[in-house]
Each structure stands twice: as C-alpha cells, then as structure tokens.
Amino acid sequence: MTWLHVANSDQLQEGDVISVSVENKTIAIYQHLGKYYATDNICTHQYALLSDGYFEDGCIECPLHQARFDVRTGQALCAPATKDLQTFPTMLEGSQILLKIE
C-alpha cells in the first residue's frame, strides 16, 4: 500500500486529536510529544468517535464510557473495552501527515 496524505501538521497541535476519512474508514490522528499517531476512530466497545474523547499522555479515552487506549500501540487499557484498537503507521513529509492503511 502507498502512503496517503490525510492531514497537514497545522491542523493539530501537541495533545490534539482530529478525525479524518480515508477509504471509507474514519481514522483518528493524534499528536503526542511531537509525533503523529493514527488509530481506528471507532471505539472497540461501542460505536463512538474517539476523536470526540479525551486525549492525555498518549492515551485516548472514549467519550461514551471512558474506555482507554494507548494510541501508540492500540492497546485497550481498561474496562469496558477489552479489544485493542487498530493502529496505522504514519510519517511526516514536510507539513504533510501521511498514513499507510494495510
């Protein structure tokens, strides 16, 4: 798969999360300690957009029931979520945030 241009670095600041649509998927892009991360934007517990949630210390908390995931690994960290989130590789090229969907 090729790298896709999904956002620009001026769209989010440190500690922000935004939602982008790529190939019929909604994906959350995060900036944490200067790096960009991408995960599936739908909570694995119930339907909710994680980009509406609370992002802190590299972890996203679902806005519905406070399930928490590490955005670097996708790991589900607490109940009610038990299933990990899918993550996607990202890279920054100039001001463009690129993403690879497997």
Binding site: Q46, A48, D52, G53, Y54, E61, C62, P63, L64, H65, Q66, A79, P80, T82
Partner: protein, 429 residues
C-alpha cells in the same frame, strides 16, 4: 509457567457476590500479586457480567451477549480464582470465620468481601412471577424481557428513573408502543435540574414515548391478556408487558444477620475508607456498601458501575496490604433516546447552572454541558453527547478549584483551553 496460588496454609479470601465489584476485586487481588486462594461465589448461574448493557444493548439485541462478561472465561482458571456459580452463602460466623452455603457445606475464610449488590425493589401488586410482569436486574431478567418483546406489543414501564428510561428507550427502538409512568412530577427529579428534566421529557415524547408524570398507581389487575394498571388520576393503562423499575434494595441480609453495622439511612453495609466493615476481616464493596465519600462530604451508598469498580479496587488493596487507589469524582452515564448523558457530582437545588453549547435537536446532532457550581466551585456537571468535554473538567472537580463558570460557556474556545486557563489562574493564587 503459571504462578501457584496456594500460599502456605492460609485460608482463602471469600468473595460473596459475583457481580461487578466481586469479579473486579478478585482480578485486582491477583494483579497486586496476592498469593492466597480466592473463592468467588454467586447465586446466579452466569459468569460475572456487566449490568449497564442489560437495559440497552442486551434488550435491543445489537450487542453480542458474549461481550458483556467482565473477564474472559479463561481468566478464572489462569489466575486461580475459584469461581463458584449457583453458590449462595446463607450465613457467616464472623468469630470462627466460617461461611455456610445453602448446600450445607462450609468453609473457613481468611478475609471475606461482601459484594452482594441488591435486588429490584418490588411493587407487591406486581409480583415478579406474574404473567406479563418484568423486573430488570439480572441477565436472566433481561433475556426474559427480550423474549417477551419478540413480537410487537405495548410496553408499560413503571418508574422514570435511569433504568426505566433506558428500558423505555430500548423498547421504543425495537418498535414497540411504550408508555412510561413516573410518580414524581418530573423525570430524574433527584438527579437533574428542572430544565433538563423538561428537555428529557420532550426528547422522550419526540422519540415516541407516551409519558405520564406525577401519576400514582391506584390498583392493578393481572389478567391472561395483559396487566391493567389503574391510576389515582382515574386513567387506566392495559399492556401485555409491564416493566417495573422503581429502584434497588441493597442485599444486606447476610451482613445484618452476621451483626455488621448497617447504615440506617441508606440501608448499606457501613464501611470505612479502606472498605472494612464494623467486623474484623469482613469487607464490603459496590451497591451494598455505604461509605463516607470525600466529594459529597457524607456517607453514601452509590449504585454505579464506577463505584463498584472503585470500591473493589480499594477492598482488594486493603486485603492485600497495598497502597489504596485514589478517590474518584463520582461519575455516571446513561444512554437513552439517542442521547449519551454523563454526570459528575450530584444535583442540588441551590446550585447555579450555566450551559455550554446548545440543546441537541431531536433529529440532528448537537452536544452541550450543564455546569452547576456553588460559590465558584463545580459540584455538578451533566454532559449530553459530550462525554469528552465532561472529562476535561475532571481536574477542577477532583481538586474542587474555584473558577469562573461563565467563562466555560464560550464556545469559540475549546473547553480544554478554558480549563487550562482556570488551572493556571488557581496556580497563580
């Protein structure tokens, strides 16, 4: 290699009640590294499951029932937690530290955690086993109600609390005609300011619910074709399916008979900050427990998923002798009529409320947060479809910092920035 949990000749931790608190405490003890045998017993036949989905996804059938279990089935064996389902403890001898089971057996425990939860409050005229009458507390209850709702019908919900509203919402989502009756003049009277009760009532009506507020039951007649409920205002509702959701009675019989102190006001087992009861080596957690709450500043018995988990963690830490987890801001959620409502703190009539955002329309999206404060300190927040925003407020609630709540209504600014400003202002003072 699996660790061994037979530590010497020590007596087991006996956890009575295999719900949210019991199952969470068992796993927490292992996570801390506590080596003693653990017996987790419960009267129900299902492995420990989460109750919040019972009135929602389990009823509407959108949820795979397998997803509601608290732990993967393999955890009990892997962590050497002796899960005994269909096992009821009928009495405790707290001096000899014996627990007696309904099958006549007994065990000697080292520590005993009571996480017995509670039972649905019954309306005597609407007994649980009467045809067409349903209560929703257990997975079995929810399954029975779901099968009663397999064909299109009229559902009468008695009780406009969180559970009744969720059941009404789920039944309506499945296309049933739904009437909801509440004896108070407004919905969630003790949990919400009046304006929000009104919004919710309008939302329920838009959703297709027939609402009867401020109406009390006069008499009931149960017939083959359905249940007839006569109300004191002279009206009558006849429905093949009646769901009674008028609250919970904590299950403290075992504790009372064992001589544990019971809080006379809320009926819960009195426990201290470490979840220890008035009797040595007996602890309590969850819906059945009454504890001094630092946020509320008084002893309360909380019926929430968060509290069950939190007290379970505290009880496990106490039993294992490890550091207690920190206090949490009381948090609650409900999903009804397409709204996700989340609440921090509690309603008091004397609070001053401001609104951030606008009322979500009945058709489109929208989100808002109501902020209730007393002398500039946040005491209550209600988020509609805005759980992420509510979460931003947590540091202000946790530390009970003063702030200018009116500033939070500025929607030009993300709430996160406004909270950061409030935290900075507090740091400067």
């Amino acid at each position: 290699m699996k660790p061994s949990y037979t530590a010497g000749d020590s007596h087991p931790v006996l956890i009575v009640g295999a719900g949210q608190a019991g199952a969470t405490a068992a796993a927490a003890l292992r996570k801390i590294g506590y080596p003693t045998p653990i017996i987790l017993c419960g009267s129900e036949l299902n492995a420990p499951y989460e109750r919040p989905p019972l009135s929602k996804g389990v009823l509407t059938n959108v949820l795979n029932e397998g997803s509601i279990f608290i732990h993967p089935a393999s955890l009990y064996e892997d962590q050497a937690i002796d899960l005994r389902l269909g096992h009821t403890v009928i009495s405790l001898d707290t001096e000899k530290k014996f627990a007696y089971f309904s099958d006549g057996s007994r065990i000697e425990y080292g520590s005993c955690l009571l996480s017995t939860g509670g039972n649905a409050r019954l309306i005597p005229d609407l007994p649980k086993d009467a045809p067409g009458v349903h209560y929703v507390r257990t997975l079995q209850d929810a399954r029975e109600l779901r099968s009663a709702l397999e064909k299109q019908t009229h559902v009468l919900v008695i009780g406009g609390g969180f559970l009744g509203l969720e059941v009404a919402s789920s039944a309506r989502t499945n296309g049933h005609a739904v009437t909801l009756v509440e004896s108070a003049p407004r919905l969630l009277q003790r949990a919400l300011p009046a304006v929000l009760s009104d919004w919710l009532a309008e939302r329920a009506i838009d959703f297709g619910i027939k609402l009867k507020l401020g109406v009390e039951i006069e008499s009931v007649s149960i017939q083959a074709e359905g249940v007839q409920v006569h109300f004191k205002d002279g009206t009558m509702v006849s429905a093949p399916v009646v769901v009674v959701a008028v609250g919970l009675v904590p299950d403290v019989e075992l504790a009372r008979n064992a001589g544990l102190q019971i809080n006379p006001e809320n009926g819960g087992i009195s426990i201290d900050a470490r979840c220890t009861s008035s009797v040595p080596d007996v602890y309590a957690a969850g819906d059945c427990a009454s504890q001094m709450n630092t946020f509320f500043g008084r002893e309360v018995r909380l019926e929430s998923w968060q509290n069950a988990n939190n007290q379970a963690q505290i009880a496990a830490a106490t039993i294992a002798g490890s550091t207690l987890p920190k206090n949490v801001v009381p948090w609650f959620w409900t999903d009804q009529f397409g709204w996700n409502i989340q609440i921090y703190g509690e309603y008091e009539a004397s609070l001053e409320y401001v609104l951030r955002g606008a009322r979500p329309s009945s058709t489109g999206p929208g989100k808002c947060v109501f902020l209730g404060s007393k002398m500039g300190v946040l005491r209550h927040a209600i988020a509609i479809n805005a759980g992420g925003e509510l979460r931003q407020l947590q540091p202000l609630f946790e530390r009970q910092l003063s702030c200018v709540t009116a500033a939070f209504t500025n929607q030009e600014q993300p709430l996160r920035r406004l909270v950061e400003e409030a935290l900075r202002a507090n740091a400067e003072h």
